[in-house]
């Protein structure tokens, strides 16, 4: 399947058909999710209306982590099978991934102000998200840090893999250092402890963000493919 997709022209043909579908799904899910989150779900008995921030915060945090994992998978594909689209995919996902991490940090801060009484606490989960944000920045700086764009691909992919090996260590060390953030209430062995009325908007928002992310990644990848073509043509021009 990956060999089949390796051809950029074929990739563009498939994604061009896929894009409107993903955009539609994203638009509907956002409309429904935001409606559910802001109007059709109950306020929390302790947190009041501020609980609605969670419907943005939690899916963004999921996406920030998922994106980094997807980038690492792309990095393996690029380093092992020299798959040019994998490198383009990793590059395309970096900016949305950093954006998700930033949204998580900002919405968390808006939520922390009324609930914890402070914009920021040096808590384990906040700090690991901040470090994840830094890892995104490091990847982007390295991938774009060379005269020739492609020259940055391999070092940047290698950095992604080092980052993935390090993430559990960072997570562990930071957890062990200080924890104030509440535990997870969705992904638990004994089933979600969150109320179903709140789980539904949460999952719809997660779907909205996921499909939005896919759409953005497709657009970014097409842009990067075109950009590479242009620079290849320019290089050929200057030779002749």
């Amino acid at each position: 399947m990956f060999d089949y997709l390796a051809n950029p022209t074929r990739f563009r043909k498939i994604t061009a058909a896929l894009l409107p579908v993903v955009v539609m799904v994203s638009a509907i899910a956002f409309a429904l999710g935001l409606y559910l989150a802001f109007f059709a779900s109950p306020a929390d008995y302790q947190q009041g209306e501020t609980v609605r921030i969670m419907y943005i915060h939690v899916p963004a945090a999921w996406m920030a982590m998922l994106t980094y994992i997807l980038m690492a998978v792309a990095a393996i594909f690029y380093l092992v099978w020299r798959h040019p689209l994998a490198d383009i995919g990793a590059r395309a996902m970096a900016l949305p991934g950093a954006g998700f991490a930033l949204i998580t940090l900002l919405t968390g801060s808006f939520w922390g102000r009324p609930i914890w009484g402070t914009w920021w606490v040096w808590d384990a989960r906040l700090t690991s998200m901040l470090i994840l944000f830094f890892l995104y920045l490091g990847y982007m700086a390295l991938a774009d840090g060379f005269e020739r764009a492609e020259r940055g691909s391999k070092p940047a992919c290698l950095l992604l893999l080092v980052g993935v090996i390090n993430l559990p260590i960072i997570k562990f060390s930071v957890d062990w250092w200080n924890t104030l953030h509440q535990g997870s209430s969705v992904l638990r062995l004994d089933g979600p402890s969150i109320d179903p009325a709140m789980l539904k908007p949460l999952l719809v928002m997660a779907l909205a963000m996921l499909s939005w992310f896919i759409a953005i990644t497709i657009l970014q990848m097409s842009r990067l493919i075109m950009q590479r073509r242009v620079s290849n043509l320019e290089a050929r021009e200057s030779w002749s």
Partner: protein
């Protein structure tokens, strides 16, 4: 065995000789280290108890910052004069040569800072009897820093800019070193058990010992393609 060991020793000796010939790098790293330590009390005030409390974290951050510029240049000279290419085509495995390079970097960059640290520690009111343990923490943690720094320096080799750029890669990855290192010295200070911190730091060192040399070697191979 000898065929691998001898070239590695040669790499270490060459690096030490080069740093003795041009001691400026080591000296500027050392003075940077002492400068940071001098600035902190000037900003914070001369309260001895307060200074003793923040001494561990201050020393660790000073070591991290003072070693960064030198680690950044770890491969730039041998990349320019062609030694790196010779390493790549030599029959000795690149991973082992990189391990030698890391050991040399530890001797040149970290060891002077570790030896200067007790002086800073005394100035910050740390008790004399814990200085030796602090040296152990700094020496082991410093090895971690060098291994992370070597990976970063190899990754950015040949890029448009370095400096800040290496810092963006090195500092997030070295956060666990800081956490365990500071916790260890603080535990020492308060008389708590510090064996656990030492073991965690040791475990981190072992993980990096497996990870860093091959990653560094691979990154250098990419840069010479």
């Amino acid at each position: 065995m000898r065929a691998i060991l001898n070239p590695c020793l040669a790499v270490i000796m060459a690096d030490i000789r080069a740093s003795l010939r041009y001691p400026g790098d080591v000296l500027s790293g050392l003075s940077y280290f002492i400068m940071i330590a001098t600035l902190v009390p000037l900003g914070l005030g001369a309260d001895q108890a307060e200074l003793a409390r923040i001494a561990p974290v201050m020393i660790w951050i000073a070591v991290m910052l003072a070693s960064l510029p030198q680690m950044d240049r770890l491969f730039s000279r041998i990349a320019k004069d062609g030694v790196l290419e010779q390493m790549l085509i030599s029959p000795t495995p690149m991973t082992m040569l990189m391990l030698a390079k890391i050991i040399a970097a530890w001797l040149i960059i970290i060891l002077p800072l570790v030896l200067a640290a007790p002086v800073i520690g005394i100035m910050f009111g740390l008790a004399m009897d814990m200085l030796a343990m602090m040296l152990c923490f700094l020496a082991i943690g410093g090895l971690c820093l060098v291994m992370i720094g070597a990976m970063a320096a190899a990754l950015v080799l040949g890029s448009r800019q370095s400096g800040v750029f290496t810092a963006i890669i090195v500092l997030p990855l070295s956060m666990p070193v800081l956490i365990f290192g500071v916790a260890g010295i603080s535990a020492l200070q308060s008389g708590a058990d510090m064996a656990g911190h030492m073991m965690l730091l040791g475990a981190l060192t072992l993980i990096l010992l497996v990870l860093s040399p091959p990653v560094t070697a691979a990154a250098i191979r990419f840069s010479e393609e």
